[in-house]
Symmetry: C2
Subunit: 228 residues, 2 copies
DNA sequence: CGCAATCTAGGACGATCGTCCTATATCAGG
DNA sequence: CCTGATATAGGACGATCGTCCTAGATTGCG
C-alpha cells in the first residue's frame, strides 16, 4: 500500500493514519475528476485533503506511489460491484445481462466515472501500471459478461463468448464521452441505454460463429495525417 | 490560425512560415501521441520540430494557441475522410454503412488515433475548446451515419436515426482502448470488427421505435466510492 | 505521568514549466 | 545590392513542480 519515508513498520496503520490515507485518496480522485490530470499535483491533493505538502509526503513519499494507490482504490470498488451482480442468481440470465448493461452505462454517467476513466485511458497509453490495472478490471468485466453470455448461448465456444464480451464491454465504455456526466448527449442516456440493451441482447441471441470469423478483411486506414 | 507575437499581418504566410507551422503541429501531435499530454511542453515540441523555444514562440505566442491549432488540424483530417465515404454513391447503402464501420475501427487502431483521442477525451472534460471541437467532429460522424441509416430504414423518424447513429458511433469509439494500437486485445481486431458490422447492421435493420423509447428506467448507480 | 511512536507544518532545494526580450541571421522585392 | 520583413537562437524571468529535511505537536501505552 502506501510507502512511508520514515517507515519502521507499516503493518500498524493506526486509525488516524488510515483515515488520513482515505482523505488523501479521496482528495486525489476529486482533483483528478474536477480539475484534470495536469492539476493533480501533490500540493493540490494536500490542500484538498486539508493537510500540507510536508504532511502528504509523510504518507506518500512520491507522486508515483500516490497514483498507484489511487488507481487501485478506485478500481477496487468495481470488483465488488461486479461480484454482486454476477452472483445474483435470483433472476434469469437475460435479466442479469440486462442488469449488467444498465449498471455499467448508469455508472459511466456519474461525475466520478466520466472524469476518472478517460484520464485513466490516456494515462494507460504511457504508464505501464495504469495499463495493467486497467486491463485487470476490464478482464473482470468481460469475465462477468462472458459468463452470462454462456448461459444465454451454451452452443457458443469460449472464444466466441469472450469476443462477444469484448465487443459489448468496449462498446459500452465508448458511451462515456457522449452520455457521460455533463457531456453533449447526456440527456439521451435513457434512449441510448434502451438501444444498448436491445442491441446487445439481439447480438448475443442471434449471432453465429461464422459471422465472427468472417471473410472480409479489416478496413485499412491510411493513418491520420496533419493539414493534408 | 496561429497568433504571432510580432504580427503586423498574418495573411502573408510565407512558404517558410507555412512549413514551419506544419512541422510544429506534426511535432506536437507526435509528442502527445508518443509521450502523453504531461510531456507536451513547448520545449519538447520545439526540440522535435528541430527549432528552439524562442523560435517556437515566434509562431505560437502561447501554449493555448498551439493546442488550439493542433486539435483543429488533427480533426480537420477526419472531415475530409467522412466526406469521401459519404459521397461514395457507387455502392449500396448497406455496403456504405459497412465501409464506414470498418474505416472508423480501422482508423482507431492506428498509433496516431489510439494515442490522440483518449488524450482529447480527457482534455475535453476540463477544456471548453477541446470539448467543442470534439463535439463538432463527432456530430459530423453521426450525421454521416444517420444519413446511411435513413437509407436503410426510411420508416424511422429523424430522432430515432440520430439515436441509432449516436449509439453506433459511441460504441465504436469505445474499442480504441481495447483493440487500439498496442492495446491488450489488438490481435482480436478482425473478429471484433466483424462482430461490429454484424451487430450494427442487425440493429439498424431490426429495431423498432418502441424499443428505443422503452419502458424501463435507467439503471441507477450509487456512484463510485473509494476503499468502501 | 513520561516517553517513544506517530503525525504535522513549514520551508528549502533544484528542475522544469510558460513566457518574454533582444540580438542576429536570412530572405525577398525594389 | 540594399533594405525592410521575416525567421531564428539564446538566454532570462517568475511560477510551480516533486522531493526532501528538520523541528515541533500529538497520540497511545506502560
Amino acid at each position: 500500500m502506501r510507502k512511508l519515508r520514515h517507515q519502521k513498520r507499516d503493518n500498524s496503520a493506526s486509525n488516524r493514519g488510515q483515515m488520513a490515507v482515505v482523505a488523501i485518496l479521496t482528495a486525489a480522485r476529486d482533483v483528478l475528476v474536477e480539475e484534470g490530470y495536469p492539476r493533480l499535483t501533490m500540493r493540490n491533493v494536500a490542500t484538498r485533503a486539508g493537510i500540507t505538502v510536508g504532511n502528504l509526503s509523510y504518507y506518500y513519499a512520491n507522486k508515483r506511489d500516490l497514483m498507484h494507490d489511487l488507481v487501485e482504490a478506485v478500481l477496487q470498488g468495481y470488483f465488488e460491484d461486479f461480484e454482486k451482480i454476477t452472483d445474483n442468481l435470483e433472476i434469469s440470465p437475460e435479466e442479469r445481462f440486462e442488469e449488467m448493461v444498465r449498471f455499467i452505462i448508469g455508472d459511466l454517467a456519474t461525475k466520478e466515472t466520466t472524469g476518472f476513466f478517460p484520464a485513466l485511458w490516456a494515462l494507460a497509453n504511457h504508464d505501464a501500471f495504469a495499463a495493467q490495472e486497467m486491463a485487470h478490471i476490464y478482464q473482470m468485466e468481460r469475465d462477468s459478461l462472458a459468463k452470462v453470455i454462456g448461459q444465454l448461448r451454451p452452443d457458443l465456444g469460449k472464444k466466441e463468448r469472450d469476443l462477444l464480451a469484448l465487443f459489448i464491454s468496449a462498446s459500452m465504455e465508448g458511451h462515456t464521452m457522449f452520455v457521460g456526466y455533463r457531456r453533449d448527449k447526456a440527456s439521451a442516456i435513457a434512449e441510448v441505454t434502451n438501444i444498448a440493451v436491445y442491441s446487445f441482447l439481439t447480438l448475443v441471441k442471434s449471432i453465429e460463429a461464422r459471422s465472427i470469423r468472417g471473410l472480409k478483411p479489416v478496413g485499412k486506414s491510411a493513418g491520420k495525417r496533419l493539414a493534408s
